[in-house]
């Protein structure tokens, strides 16, 4: 039996077993490859998406357990129309290999939605589940502060 999902505002009917994690529904079935596979055990944050605005590790949410509308990095902004947070990431030249950055941005976007002016300690707390093997953390931190100030002005 197909499962109904709403992803980035678009309804989808998914014909996969109930226990398939949302990550693999997005990547292999829907074709939204911006959400990345890194560990499969919620230890790296590369697969972070929003469900009803909350940042979750999509590798740990079974298809049948998805409780609300899903937003992925593709739903945040596009190359032609970057969201504020993506523009801050680009302005600060954050990405190196870039593989973890979809997850970093989704995590940071959820943080900023909840806390429009996070301190360094609050950034540490919110972002420590997101691993970056290139070590781009100083620029991620700068981009979050930058996005916070731009969103405040807006």
């Amino acid at each position: 039996m197909a499962t109904a999902l709403k992803i980035n505002g678009t309804p989808h009917q998914i014909d996969l077993p109930d226990d398939v994690p949302l990550l693999w529904v997005l990547r292999d079935e829907v074709g939204l490859t911006g959400t990345k596979f890194g560990c499969g055990v919620a230890a790296c944050g590369a697969c972070t998406v929003h469900i009803d605005g909350e940042a979750v590790r999509s590798c740990q949410v079974a298809l049948s357990d998805v409780w609300g509308e899903v937003t992925t990095i593709e739903g945040v902004g596009t190359p032609e129309a970057l969201a504020t947070i993506q523009q801050s990431w680009a302005d600060h030249q954050v990405a190196q290999c870039g593989y973890c950055q979809s997850g970093q941005i989704m995590q940071a976007a959820a943080l900023l939605a909840e806390n429009p002016a996070p301190t360094d300690a609050e950034i540490d707390e919110a972002m420590q589940g997101n691993l970056c093997r290139c070590g781009t953390y100083p620029r991620i931190r700068a981009a979050i502060h930058d996005a916070a100030s731009k969103l405040k002005e807006a």
Binding site: L16, P17, V20, P21, L23, W24, R27, D28, G31, L32, T33, G34, K36, F37, G38, C39, G40, V41, A43, C44, A46, T72, E74, V76, G77, T78, P79, L82, Q86, W89, A90, Q93, V94, A95, Q96, C97, G98, Y99, C100, Q101, S102, I105, I123, D124, E125, M127, Q128, G129, N130, L131, C132, R133, C134, G135, T136, Y137, P138, R139, I140, R141
Partner: protein
């Protein structure tokens, strides 16, 4: 010298070729150009384009792996600087696996000199040796060589294309080319009219490429300045395509399990349970492992985990202790190399104080964020392979052998790399994906490794031991006698890539050990090769990654024994030996306000490594926060000579440093029953947002020869941290990872 010059010129012959509606400029691999170089006949040379212009626009080729180091942007800037095009008006592609994209700087690194003492003659010889890179078709991204390699050739390609386009415009207008200017992809006539390059492409294709001198650096608009990275927008919108993101019509997804007793056989397997699991299409016997092809990666992985497999034993001691005993044994034999032997180390000078120390570091995994994967489409007489890789010509050769095809029948598509660090220079992921796809001809199959499979089937940074003896007198080091023992990743890799056994003195094993710019009168450094079959390979900065720790921790111990400030102690030995190196130490002293003294609860350490032609000094400050130690701040100074994009160099420097600190704090691959004991990030963690230090980087440009950027930030980070911890706690770190000895913030 003339003959050397001649050889160098012959290795890159700029040519051009007509294409449909346009022109291509590029380099030839051999010296006999073909009438149609884009479709050469037998015995004729193919032209591999670096610049392609047609009605659709201007395309530049940057045939180096973009694994985060920004090579795509800086490589394109080298061409654009001479071609006079705007970086936002062009397309940059990686291009196919091709011989003419060989890496000329890589082989130059093989010269038996220390690097920092290189003469101009040797420097030219190094370039000439680049021919070997060409002969082996070594299209490799590694060794921090991309900018050294591309610096001359790419500007030459751009200049030649520009002048040929001008000649085409001059012919059309019946005027002299010297009356024409170029800007933003246009030729500009004396009266200010603009003719687009795209409009001149067909006419330019009929002309001999024009050779001109390169522009003086004072005229540069892109090089030496900060460029927005061309891959940035794709990477912040999830639209940049990594290997794992390749999607093709009708594609299937596979998961794989290879013998966790690395190099052991597969005795038998039972796939009866796996075959009937949801989504499964077929189970593939890979000989040394199994794969499951399904309609979803996760379902394939569930099924491959359900295969019952009887694995054969590994060809090395099954426990970590037994492996390190073999490394210890290597000290008993004759050294594989003694690349530094100054003065006489057999006698400790009268009145000098002698100290000895032994250090040990573990095996390490690369742990790229994107697990190993590749996508293959096999149809019986041809193969296409999509993957992020650091060596497309080698992977093409391996895939062709695997599929029993000519290399010409194999096409490699190189995507972005979700981290490389040396891991994606290996060929295993491409070979396995090829075998899997051969089980389903006509259907593209993506084979993705689980994180556990990736972590436990690496070509690891070898575990290593160093035995150091030294002496100080009157506040100075007067003797250093060092021995390092480890497996040779070079010898093992040569055999793996070519099938021939590797041998001879291994410079990589002792890099960062024998070639450090200290004027110590009695100075001998030897390498001993451990005979072990644990798979080992090139891990960001390779031999420097262990030797930096050994050498610089011992320098700190010597300074302490001499009663000297560790920064002054180094600086004094370095000033007369290599000024750019001394400049880096002086820079971090100034940046960090180094006084040699720290308040209670704060510790500072300094370290220095010269690697890949670039000296790097780092000062690290650690702080005791209620018993847990935080790495608070790092100051880095490097001198790579010309920095083509200083902001990108800074990113590479602190990124390399973070990679080293992650290993220094937490990294260890250990073995039990022949199997790696670490499975996933919880067992092999890295620095995270809350444990990463603040950083400040200064890029100096006094070095006479161009150095690398991607790796030199890594080696000094580990000893700098160990030395800072000694300053804070009085406990000397002689083995890694540090979390085993110190209460680090986690």
């Amino acid at each position: 010298m003339a003959s050397v010059g001649k050889i160098i010129r012959r290795t890159f012959l700029i040519g051009s070729a007509a294409i449909v509606g346009g022109v291509a400029f590029g380099a030839y691999y051999v010296t006999r150009p073909a009438p149609n170089p884009l479709k050469p006949k037998e015995g004729e040379a193919a032209l591999n384009p670096f610049v392609l212009i047609d009605q659709n626009g201007i395309t530049l080729f940057a045939p180096r792996a973009e694994m985060g180091q920004g090579v795509k942007t800086t490589w394109a800037a080298l061409i654009a600087e001479e071609l006079d095009v705007d970086l936002d008006q062009i397309t940059v592609l990686h291009g196919p696996a091709a011989a003419a994209y060989y890496n000329s700087a890589m082989m130059g690194e093989g010269l038996p000199n220390k690097g920092y003492d290189i003469s101009d003659f040797q420097h030219n010889l190094g370039e000439a040796l680049g021919i070997l890179g060409k002969a082996l078709s070594l299209q490799v991204t590694g060794g921090s060589t991309s900018m050294k390699d591309g610096f001359e050739r790419m500007r030459q390609a751009g200049a030649s294309a520009r002048e040929t386009l001008k000649r085409a415009a001059a012919d059309r207008l019946g005027i002299d080319p010297s009356d024409l200017k170029t800007a933003s992809g246009h030729v500009i006539t004396p009266n200010g009219d603009k003719i687009a390059y795209t409009d001149l492409a067909v006419e330019a294709a009929g002309l001999e490429p024009v050779e001109v001198p390169l522009r003086d650096p004072s005229e540069w608009r892109y090089l030496g300045r900060i460029q927005p990275r061309l891959d940035m927008v794709g990477k912040v919108t999830g639209t940049a395509e990594f290997g794992i993101d390749v999607r093709l019509p009708g594609m299937r997804f596979a998961a794989v399990r290879m013998n966790p007793k690395l190099g052991g056989a597969m005795n038998s397997f039972d796939d009866s349970a796996a075959k009937s699991m949801p989504g499964v299409e077929t189970v593939v016997d890979l000989g040394t492992g199994v794969a499951v092809i399904a309609n979803n990666t996760w379902l394939a992985n569930q099924a491959v985990e359900a295969v019952e497999i009887d694995w054969g034993d590994a060809p090395y001691p099954p426990e970590t202790d037994g492996i390190f005993l073999k490394i210890v044994e290597a000290f008993d034999g004759a050294p594989n190399s003694t690349m530094r032997d100054d003065g006489d180390v057999s006698v400790t000078p009268d009145g000098a104080t002698e100290i000895t120390a032994e250090y040990q570091v573990p095996y390490l995994a690369h742990a790229t964020m994107e697990p190993m994967n590749a996508t293959a489409l096999y149809n019986g007489d041809a193969l296409e392979l999509w993957c992020g890789n650091q060596a497309p010509t080698l992977i093409r050769f391996r895939a062709a052998n695997t599929a029993n095809l000519d290399t010409e029948a194999v096409q490699i598509h190189t995507t972005y790399l979700g981290g490389g660090f040396g891991r994606r220079g290996e060929l295993d992921f491409g070979e396995i994906a090829t075998k899997v796809a051969m089980a389903m001809p006509g259907t593209p199959v993506q084979t993705t490794w689980s994180r556990e499979e990736d972590m436990r089937h690496d070509y690891f940074r070898p575990g290593a031991i160093a035995r150091m003896r030294g002496a100080v007198q009157d506040g100075k080091a007067v003797l250093i006698d060092g021995k390092v023992a480890a497996q040779s990743c070079m010898q093992q890799a040569v055999e793996r890539y070519t099938g021939f056994p590797g041998g001879g003195p291994d410079k990589v094993l002792v890099e960062g050990f024998f070639n450090q710019p200290y004027a110590v009168p009695n100075y001998r450094m030897s390498g001993h090769v451990a005979d072990l079959a644990v798979p080992v390979g090139f891990w960001r900065s390779v031999g420097n990654s262990h030797n930096g720790f050994f050498h610089e921790t011992f320098m700190d111990e010597l300074a302490h024994a001499a009663g000297r400030d560790p920064l002054d102690f180094r600086l004094e030995l370095m000033r007369t030996e290599h000024a750019p190196s001394a400049g880096c130490l002086e820079a971090v002293r100034e940046m960090s306000n180094w006084t040699g003294k720290t308040p209670d609860g704060v510790g500072r350490g300094v370290a220095f490594t010269y690697s890949f032609g670039t000296p790097v000094a780092q000062v690290i400050e650690v702080v005791d926060e209620d018993g847990a130690i935080r790495i608070h701040k790092v100051w880095i100074a490097c001198d790579m000579g010309l920095a083509l994009d200083p902001e990108n160099v800074k990113a590479q420097m602190f990124g390399g440093m973070m990679y080293g600190l992650s290993a220094a704090c937490f990294g260890a691959i250990t073995f039990a029953d022949g199997e790696v004991e670490q499975f996933n990030f919880p067992d092999y963690d890295a620095l995270r947002m809350h444990t990463a230090p603040q950083v400040e980087v200064r890029v100096l440009e006094t070095n006479r020869h161009m150095g690398g950027a991607g790796e030199p930030g890594t080696p000094p980070s580990m000893p700098a941290l160990g030395n800072a911890l000694f300053d804070l706690t009085g406990n000397r770190a002689r083995s890694l990872p540090l979390v085993n000895q110190f209460n680090l913030l986690v």
